[in-house]
């Protein structure tokens, strides 16, 4: 049996090397080898990470949990990192970022993504309502600075809110699988117990691991959590009194993250706080104060600046610029600004003149000219 798998994996390695060779490249010119392989099996590719949906589960009423089996181009991830998942909806490719929630040591090679489904969530609703076992989706390699350090910290504090639970869940599962013995506090914020993703698994982990303290905090009154309400310094003193000694990983909605960051900054601990902006704070659309117009040179279109991001304004003008994560990560939407000032909604920084900008995180300040 072992010998057989060895032969087959050696065969696969040889085949891959052949398909990546210069000869294969010329024979398949100008389309490239992948464009022929995918005709025969959508998972076959020498460059792209594509994954088959192995399972679709609904852990809560407004979430969907996907088990994906990536093809052999997948290079793995570090707990905390994210991937870009692309699906085709009504003929159009849509890309969003999700953090794998599974343990690094998961035996079957699959990854697990959980998405929160918002009422207007175009992609997340598709994932919950349309995606089924056997479908093939496109993935990027894992990326992101938010990651469990190779040298595991001595004490870990994981703080998450809502669907921000996924990257820290991956950290927790990984540490438990490794037999990590240092203290871990898992502080999670959710609207209600019913909304809490991974609730029963967390219970189980806390029950079987003496070093794991689970602190649940629900926003709704009358819920059975250890705490209630929004994050505060008091919560921290109750949940993790030794937070100053811990390495902290934080992921959640922007207001919650801001509250946590403030405490760490006040205490001069900012360096010990690792954070992942999971959802981008919606830009303050000040349509009253938005001035000027947006000019799209190549497509000869123009729009009155309404204060939204340039990507959104381009789309509502009927353009289809390339885009991906829509949160300033993947650079798919990068394009040339030939004139005008823009504000980066992540930093508030204003930049001017001719330059390449990420239009998904840029709002125009006055008239802006884009070369799209």
């Amino acid at each position: 049996m072992n010998a057989m798998t060895q032969t087959s994996s050696r065969f696969q390695q040889g085949l891959t090397r052949l398909l990546q060779s210069r000869v294969a490249d010329i024979l398949s010119y100008p389309h490239g080898v992948d464009r022929y392989l995918e005709v025969f099996n959508p998972l076959w590719s020498v460059n792209e990470v594509r994954a088959k949906v192995e399972a679709v589960r609904y852990l809560t009423n407004d979430s969907v949990t996907l088990t994906l089996r990536p093809n052999h181009n997948w290079e793995g991830f570090i707990p905390g990192q994210f991937v870009q998942l692309s699906v085709t909806i009504n003929g159009k490719r849509q890309t969003r970022c999700y953090s794998p929630a599974n343990s690094l040591h998961r035996a079957d090679g699959c990854i697990e993504l959980t998405a929160k489904v918002h009422a207007n969530g175009f992609v997340s609703r598709h994932l919950r309502e349309q995606l089924s076992v056997g479908d093939v989706v496109l993935l990027s390699q894992a990326d992101g600075e938010f990651a469990l350090p190779e040298q595991r910290p001595e004490q870990v504090l994981l703080i998450s809110g809502g669907s921000g639970i996924t990257p820290v869940m991956s950290m927790l599962r990984t540490l438990c699988d490794e037999g990590f013995s240092g203290p871990i506090t898992f502080l999670h914020y959710a609207n209600s117990a019913a909304d809490m993703i991974y609730a029963s698994e967390l219970d189980e982990i806390a029950r079987t691991h003496d070093n794991v303290t689970l602190v649940r905090c629900f926003n709704d009154e009358g819920e059975q959590g250890e705490l209630s309400g929004l994050f505060s310094r008091e919560h921290l003193y109750i949940a993790a009194p030794e937070f100053a000694q811990a390495t902290t990983f934080l992921c959640g909605p922007p207001p919650m993250m801001a509250a946590v960051e403030k405490v760490w900054e006040e205490d001069g601990l900012a360096e010990r706080l690792h954070k992942e902006q999971f959802t981008l704070a919606a830009p303050q659309i000040e349509s009253d104060s938005a001035e000027g117009e947006v000019r799209f040179v190549q497509s000869e279109k123009m729009a009155i600046n309404n204060g939204a991001t340039l990507l959104e304004q381009a789309e509502s003008a009927g353009l289809t610029p390339e885009s991906g994560c829509r949160m300033g990560i993947c650079h798919a939407c990068t394009c040339r600004k030939t004139a005008g000032d823009v504000r980066d909604i992540r930093t508030g920084e204003i930049s001017s003149g001719e330059e390449d900008i990420q239009i998904c995180v840029s709002v125009p300040v006055g008239t802006v000219t884009l070369d799209i």
Partner: protein, 385 residues
């Protein structure tokens, strides 16, 4: 008098609005249907190619050779016409798939994506049938219009047209070089030409190496069969695609325009010029697919970035608009349009009798139009209104 100068400003406006309405309706409806269409077609083309190349490896058996050539020819035609030409027009850019995007896509043809988008998408589609602006009028080697001055070299018009068709992919590849500027008119230096040729030569080399060296070499002792098969498939694609393209713009009644027409041209006038400068041909579904739906050349010129499989559906509406406004809608069988094109090629090999503005001869209608258009188009329309 030509129809073009008989239309009032209001009529141009109305025609523009009516055509815009069709366009807006169809573009708002883009979705899964279009995506499935192009993906399915690409799958079929890739399968045909793999089958064709595979069969040619056994090309020493006559049935395998014939089947291989048929598959590979069909594959190259589909790749260039319904897929390549249309994808590079940006018809499927909205899908957001880099493999089907006009910025990235390249075809099984010696012409580069960049050069094609310059000469075809920009020059030919913007300045359709405008003399000295649309290089597709004769590709710099043929005399395809009465208004092109006759030169002795045009005595060879039919022979040159045959050569153009035979090596069509290479002529298209070097079209952007405007070779005649160097060879005939001496307005381009050798150095300029060399620099412009570099990227094209890079692609040509790869295509030629693939089709005429590498694939034959894979067949070992049977290399000559593969070589001959690839030559035949490329030739079949060249002859077919050149005839389809000629039928789209050079049947006899199709109009050509002087450069003055594009000054201050309104959207409605642009639409009408596209209508008058293009011709369709009729056929079944297979004919439309194999011609990249350029059998609906009129619809394609009105809406070059609309997925081409939609042209069949909107053609009756476009025709109705033409009839309503008294505009011609040039169509006919493939054979009729082809004969008409070749008649024009032969006829224009000799100097035009009407040169000098005589009001006799078969082309005086065109003359009159040219004269009227060289005048201020604005005053014309105002007078008529």
């Amino acid at each position: 008098m030509s129809i073009f100068s008989n239309l009032t400003a209001e009529q141009f406006e109305t025609i523009g609005q009516e055509l815009d309405a069709i366009r807006n309706r169809e573009m708002a409806d883009l979705g899964e249907k279009d995506a499935n269409y192009i993906r399915t077609l690409i799958k079929r083309q890739r399968r045909l190619e793999v089958a064709g190349r595979g069969l040619l490896m056994a090309g020493f058996l006559p049935p395998a050779w014939l089947a291989g050539v048929a598959c590979l020819s069909a594959s190259k035609i589909l790749d260039n016409m319904e897929i390549g030409h249309n994808v590079m027009h940006g018809q499927y850019d909205w899908m957001g798939d880099p493999a089907i995007n006009s910025k990235v896509f390249d075809w099984d043809n010696t012409c580069t994506n960049t050069a094609w988008k310059q000469t075809h998408n920009f020059e030919h589609h913007t300045f359709t049938n405008v003399l000295d602006k649309d290089h597709d009028i004769g590709y710099g080697i043929l005399r395809m219009s009465d208004d092109q001055d006759w030169e002795p070299r045009f005595l060879f018009n039919p022979i040159l047209a045959g050569i153009l068709a035979t090596f069509f992919q290479h002529f298209v590849a070097i079209q952007s070089l405007k070779l005649e500027d160097y060879l005939v008119y001496k307005t381009k230096t050798k150095e300029e030409l060399k620099a412009e040729f570099k990227p094209t030569w890079k692609k040509m080399r790869k295509q030629l190496f693939k089709d005429y060296l590498l694939f034959p070499a894979l067949a070992g002792p049977f290399a000559p069969f593969v070589f001959a098969g690839n030559v035949t498939a490329n030739l079949a694609r060249n002859l077919w695609s050149s005839q389809v393209i000629f039928n789209g713009h050079f049947p006899e009644e199709v109009e050509q325009f002087p450069e003055s027409v594009i000054e201050n041209e309104t959207r409605g006038q642009w639409y009408v010029r596209q209508l008058l400068g293009s011709a369709n041909f009729e056929g079944g579904r297979l004919m439309h697919v194999m011609s990249g739906n350029l059998s609906f050349q009129i619809e394609h010129h009105l809406f070059p970035d609309m997925p081409a499989h939609r042209y069949a559906k909107i053609a009756p509406e476009v025709r109705a608009i033409c009839e309503k406004h008294g505009l011609p809608y040039n169509t006919g069988s493939f054979v009729k349009q082809s004969l008409s094109v070749w008649k024009r090629i032969f006829k224009l090999s000799l100097p035009s009798k009407t040169q000098g503005g005589s009001d006799k001869g078969p082309l005086n209608g065109l003359r009159a139009k040219v004269v009227s258009l060289t005048r201020e188009p604005q005053s014309e329309t105002r007078k008529a209104a």
